[in-house]
C-alpha cells in the first residue's frame, strides 16, 4: 500500500484508478480462501503456498499471482480455488493438484476437468461459479467481493471502489441526507431483531448527549452461524466504511468494534484494517480532508454469548462484566457510558456503503414489502451444499434448501428447518414455501435471527433438538435473573429426562408454564427467547413429545436411551462389514453365520446402521417396541448375497 495519507476525495479516486490500472488484465489471479478459519482448517494455506512455489518454478510470476481471500461461501467443497479472469472454479483441491492447475490453466488457459464441480443430480460438470446452482440462485451484493480481495490489503478494497461511498457521503451529502437515504432504504438490523436501522440512527442523532457512540456488534455466537465472522474476516473495510458513514450521519466521533474472543482471525483482520485505514487518513481526524473525525477502537470479547446483547456488550466495553442490564431507556438514548449509542450488527453496517453508492431506490427493488435487500444465511445441517449464501429477502425456504442447498443427503426427507439460532425455532416441512423475511418467520413462531439455518431430516428428533438449544442457553445464560437461570435449568432437566425415557405426565404443561414466565419476565432477550426452540417443537411436533413420554419411543429413532439396534436374521448376509466397524466389538458372527448385537456392549453409535450396505438393510433401529430375540448362536444365513 502507498504510505501516503489521502487528503481529498480526488486523491482517493486517483488512488483507486491507479490500483485498478496497475492490475495487468492478462495476469491470472488464483483466489484461495486462506483468510477464513474454516478454509485454513481445510488446508487452504498449504495450497496457497504450493501455488506460489509452482508459479515460481514454472516462471509464471508475470502471468499469475495468488490472492489470499476470505470465505467464498461454498464451504462444503473447500478448499476452493477460483482462477480469474475466466472464473474457473475448482473444488476440493489438494496440494498435489496444484502443479496440474499451474501447467494447464495458468500456462495454457485450459480446464482441469476432474477438479470441476459435478452436479450430484444431473452429473454435469460446471466450469464456472455461475454454472453451479449453489451460486446461480444467489445475489451476493454484500458478500460478493470477498473472493476478489485480500482483506489484509486495503488497496484491494480501494481498487474495487472501496471508500467511494464514504467520500460521496462526506462531500456530496449532508448528514441529514445520509440519514434520509438510509431511512428510505428500509434497511432493518441484520443481528436478529430487524429494527429499522434508519430509525435507530435518527434516535441516536436526536438524543441529547455531549458524546455519541457508534458500535459494531461482531459477537455472533449462534450455533452453526458464521456470516458476521466471514464478513469481518473477508471484507472488514466494508464494515468500517459503513461505520464511518453512520457516524457521519449520527454525529458521532467515536466508534468501537466488538469482536468475540472465539474469532481470532476476524479480530486480527479488523485490527489490520483499522490500522491501514488510519494510515490512509480514512479513520482519525479530518477524514479525507472533510473536517469529519472518527476514532475507532477494537474491543475483544471474553467468551460469553450473552455479551452480544446490546447492554451487555456496552457493559463489556466499559470494562464491566459482560452482563445485560435493565433497558427501560433505549440504548440509542442512553447506552455506552450513559451516552446515546448506535449499535448495529456487522452485516447491517456492511449494507450501508451499498445503499449510499447505489441509492435507496435500488435497495428497495430487492426483497419483500417489509424486508428489503438481501440476507446472508449459513446453510448447515442435513443439506448437500452447506455454506454461506446470500439471497434476496423473500426467497422461499424450499428454494434455499433445494435449489441452492441441493436437497437432503441420501435422498432423506426434510423434516424441519431451524432458523434464528437458540432464540429461534423450527419451521416444519409444510411451511417450506414461506418467503423468508423478518415478519413471515416471526409469524411461524421462529425468527430471522442473525441468519443461522439448520436443515433437519427425518432422523432428527425434535425433542432432542429443543434439548440441544436449551442446554446451549443454559450454559450461556448470565444467571442474573431468576426466570432465565432457573427456567433454563429446569427446562434442561425436563428435556433431558424426556429424551432418556424418564418423562412424566405434566411435563409438557410444565415446559409451557416455564416458557411463558421466561418470555414475560426475563431481564433480556436471551431469556425472553430462549424457550422458543422448545415452544416451536411443541407447537409443530407435540406428538413426538407424547411418544417419548407415554411410549418411551423416539419416532426419529435418534434418542440413544430409547433406541436399540437389531440385525434382522432374515436380511443379514453375514458380510462382516458391521462387525468389522463396530467400535466396541459388540457384534458377533462369522462368514455364513448371521450376525447379532450384544446389547450390553452396544453404545448405540449408529455405525452398524450406517455401514450396512443399502442393498441388505439388515440393521434396524428399534424404538418403543420390544427388541426381538437374537438368533440362536450359529444360525446360518438364509439370504444369498447377490452382486
Amino acid at each position: 500500500m502507498a504510505s501516503k495519507r489521502i487528503s481529498s476525495a480526488k486523491e482517493l479516486e486517483q488512488l483507486g484508478r491507479d490500483i485498478a490500472s496497475k492490475a495487468d488484465p492478462d495476469k491470472r489471479i488464483v483466489s484461495i480462501c486462506t483468510m477464513s478459519v474454516c478454509g485454513q482448517s481445510r488446508g487452504s494455506g498449504a495450497i496457497a503456498e504450493r501455488f506460489a512455489e509452482e508459479i515460481r518454478r514454472a516462471g509464471l510470476e508475470e502471468k499469475a499471482e495468488v490472492r489470499q481471500t476470505g470465505c467464498q461461501g461454498f464451504c462444503e467443497r473447500e478448499p476452493v480455488v477460483i482462477i480469474f479472469p475466466e472464473g474457473f472454479y475448482y473444488v476440493n483441491v489438494e496440494p498435489d493438484d496444484v502443479p496440474e492447475i499451474v501447467s494447464a490453466t495458468l500456462s495454457k488457459g485450459e480446464l482441469v476437468e476432474r477438479l470441476l464441480y459435478t452436479d450430484p443430480t444431473t452429473g454435469e460438470r460446471a466450469a464456472k461459479e455461475s454454472d453451479i446452482p449453489f451460486y446461480s440462485h444467489q445475489m451476493p451484493i454484500v458478500f460478493g467481493d470477498n473472493r476478489r480481495i485480500n482483506p489484509r490489503e486495503i488497496d484491494d478494497y480501494i481498487g474495487l471502489g472501496g471508500y467511494g461511498a464514504l467520500s460521496k457521503a462526506l462531500f456530496e451529502m449532508s448528514p441529514e441526507q445520509v440519514l434520509d437515504e438510509v431511512k428510505k432504504s428500509n434497511l432493518r438490523g441484520r443481528g436478529g431483531g430487524g429494527f429499522p436501522t434508519g430509525r435507530k440512527w435518527e434516535t441516536t442523532r436526536n438524543a441529547s448527549g455531549e458524546t455519541k457512540y457508534v458500535l459494531v456488534n461482531c459477537d455472533e455466537g449462534d450455533p452453526g452461524a458464521y456470516m458476521d465472522r466471514s464478513i469481518m474476516e473477508g471484507n472488514p473495510h466494508s464494515v468500517l466504511e459503513g461505520l464511518l458513514i453512520g457516524a457521519y450521519a449520527i454525529g458521532s466521533h467515536e466508534g468501537f468494534i466488538y469482536v468475540r474472543d472465539e474469532y481470532p482471525l476476524a479480530y486480527d483482520n479488523t485490527i489490520q484494517a483499522v490500522k491501514h485505514a488510519e494510515e490512509y487518513g480514512l479513520i482519525g481526524e479530518n477524514i479525507l480532508g472533510s473536517g469529519f473525525d472518527l476514532r475507532v477502537s477494537v474491543h475483544r470479547g471474553a467468551g460469553a454469548f450473552v455479551s452480544g446483547e446490546s447492554t451487555a456488550l456496552m457493559n463489556a466495553i466499559e470494562g464491566r462484566v459482560g452482563e445485560p442490564r435493565m433497558k427501560y431507556i433505549r440504548t440509542a438514548v442512553s447506552g455506552l457510558k450513559g451516552m446515546p449509542t448506535c449499535l448495529n450488527n456487522v452485516e447491517t453496517w456492511a449494507n450501508v456503503p451499498l445503499i449510499i453508492n447505489r441509492g435507496s431506490e435500488w435497495f428497495n427493488s430487492i426483497g419483500t414489502e417489509g424486508s428489503k435487500g438481501t440476507k446472508i444465511f449459513s446453510l448447515v445441517g442435513k443439506v448437500n451444499n452447506t455454506g454461506l449464501v446470500e439471497v434476496p429477502m423473500g426467497m422461499t425456504l424450499r428454494q434455499l434448501v433445494y435449489d441452492i442447498g441441493g436437497g437432503i443427503p441420501q435422498g432423506n426427507k426434510l423434516k424441519a428447518v431451524q432458523t434464528g439460532g437458540p432464540s429461534g425455532g423450527v419451521i416444519p416441512e409444510q411451511y417450506l414455501d414461506t418467503p423468508i423475511d423478518f415478519d413471515e418467520l416471526t409469524k411461524l413462531g421462529s425468527m430471522m435471527g442473525s441468519g443461522g439455518m439448520v436443515v433437519m431430516d427425518e432422523d432428527t428428533c425434535m425433542v432432542d433438538t429443543a434439548r440441544y438449544f436449551i442446554s446451549f442457553c443454559c450454559e450461556e445464560s448470565c444467571g442474573q435473573c431468576s426466570p432465565c437461570r432457573e427456567g433454563l435449568r429446569m427446562l434442561r432437566e425436563i428435556l433431558n429426562d424426556i429424551c432418556e425415557g424418564k418423562g412424566q405426565e405434566g411435563d409438557i404443561e410444565a415446559i409451557e408454564d416455564i416458557a411463558e414466565v421466561m418470555q414475560d419476565a426475563s431481564l433480556c432477550a436471551l431469556g425472553g427467547t430462549a424457550a422458543n426452540p422448545a415452544l416451536t417443537t411443541l407447537k409443530y411436533f407435540r406428538d413426538e413429545y407424547e411418544a417419548h413420554i407415554r411410549e418411551q419411543r423416539c419416532p426419529a429413532q435418534a434418542c440413544q436411551a430409547l433406541t436399540c439396534y437389531y440385525i434382522d436374521p432374515a436380511l443379514c448376509t453375514a458380510c462382516l462389514i458391521c462387525r468389522r466397524n463396530c467400535p466396541t466389538e459388540a457384534i458377533y458372527g462369522e462368514k455364513g453365520i448371521v450376525h447379532w448385537i450384544d446389547q450390553e456392549k452396544c453404545i448405540k453409535c449408529d455405525t452398524c446402521f450406517q455401514v450396512c450396505p443399502p442393498r441388505f438393510s439388515a440393521v434396524r433401529r428399534i424404538s418403543g417396541e420390544p427388541l426381538p430375540e437374537p438368533p440362536a448362536p450359529g444360525t446360518r444365513v438364509t439370504r444369498e448375497e447377490k452382486g
Binding site: 460469553a304 427501560y328 444467571g479 435473573c481 431468576s482 432457573e486 429446569m490 414475560d520 419476565a521 426475563s522
Partner: protein, 209 residues
C-alpha cells in the same frame, strides 16, 4: 415535574423519574420484591415485582423496580398473568432456597399468597441447593453502602454464586450489615464471622460451590 398514572385503578401522581414500585409504595399499594432495597440501585433480577403496564395502547410486562413512571401509564400489579409469573418463579426458586424442603421468610409468605407448589420441581432439581436465590442484596449493599466490596458474584448461569473475598472481609466481623438483608437467612446461619468458610471465592475456585 409530576406525572399522572393509574395503579390498580387508583389515580396516582408521581414525581417524574421515579419507578413504578416507588410510586406504588407511596400510594400505599404493595408489590412484592426479593432483590429490591430502598438504599440500593435497582437490580431488576428477581423479577418478582413484575407488573403489567399499558402505555399508548400497548400492554407489556415490566419490572416495577426499574421501569420509570410515565404520564398516562396504566399499571396492574395483580392480574392472572402476573400471578402466574410470581407463582412459577417461586416454584422455580424453591428447590435451591429451601432448607430440608421448607421455605422460610419472604419466600414462604409469597408461596402461600400465590398458591405456589414449592415441591413442584423438587424431583428435577439435581444440583446442590445453595440456599441462595442470587438476589444480590448482600453484594450490592457491601458495594454501594458499606463500600467494602467483600462480596461479589462468580460464575454464570446456574453456576453463578455470591461469594466472599476473604482478604476484603476484615471488616465483616463488626459490620454484618448483610446479615439482615439475606432473604433466605443463608448468610447469618452459614457464616463463620471471621473466615466465611463455606462460600468464599476460594471455595468457588476449588469447585466446591
Amino acid at each position: 415535574m409530576t406525572v399522572e398514572l393509574q395503579i390498580d385503578g387508583k389515580e396516582v401522581r408521581a414525581e417524574e423519574g421515579i419507578t413504578i414500585l416507588e410510586a406504588a409504595r407511596e400510594a400505599g399499594i404493595a408489590i412484592p420484591t426479593l432483590c429490591y432495597h430502598t438504599e440500593l440501585m435497582p437490580h431488576g433480577t428477581c423479577r418478582i415485582c413484575s407488573v403489567e403496564v399499558e402505555t399508548r395502547g400497548r400492554m407489556r410486562t415490566v419490572v416495577s423496580c426499574g421501569c420509570p413512571v410515565e404520564q398516562g401509564m396504566v399499571v396492574k400489579t395483580r392480574s392472572p398473568r402476573i400471578d402466574r409469573i410470581r407463582k412459577t418463579l417461586i416454584e422455580l426458586l424453591a428447590p435451591t432456597s429451601a432448607v430440608d424442603g421448607e421455605l422460610g421468610g419472604q419466600m414462604k409468605k409469597l408461596a402461600r399468597e400465590y398458591g405456589a407448589d414449592t415441591h413442584r420441581f423438587e424431583s428435577r432439581f439435581r444440583d446442590r441447593p445453595t440456599r441462595c436465590i442470587l438476589c444480590g442484596q448482600c453484594v450490592r449493599y457491601c458495594d454501594e453502602v458499606v463500600g467494602e466490596h467483600a462480596i461479589g458474584f462468580m460464575g454464570r448461569g446456574v453456576d453463578r454464586r455470591a461469594v466472599f473475598f476473604p482478604e476484603k472481609a476484615k471488616a465483616c466481623v463488626t459490620c454484618q450489615a448483610c446479615f439482615n438483608l439475606c432473604p433466605t437467612g443463608k448468610i447469618p446461619s452459614e457464616t463463620d464471622f471471621v473466615v466465611f468458610d463455606g462460600f468464599s471465592v476460594d471455595d468457588y475456585l476449588a469447585g466446591e460451590l
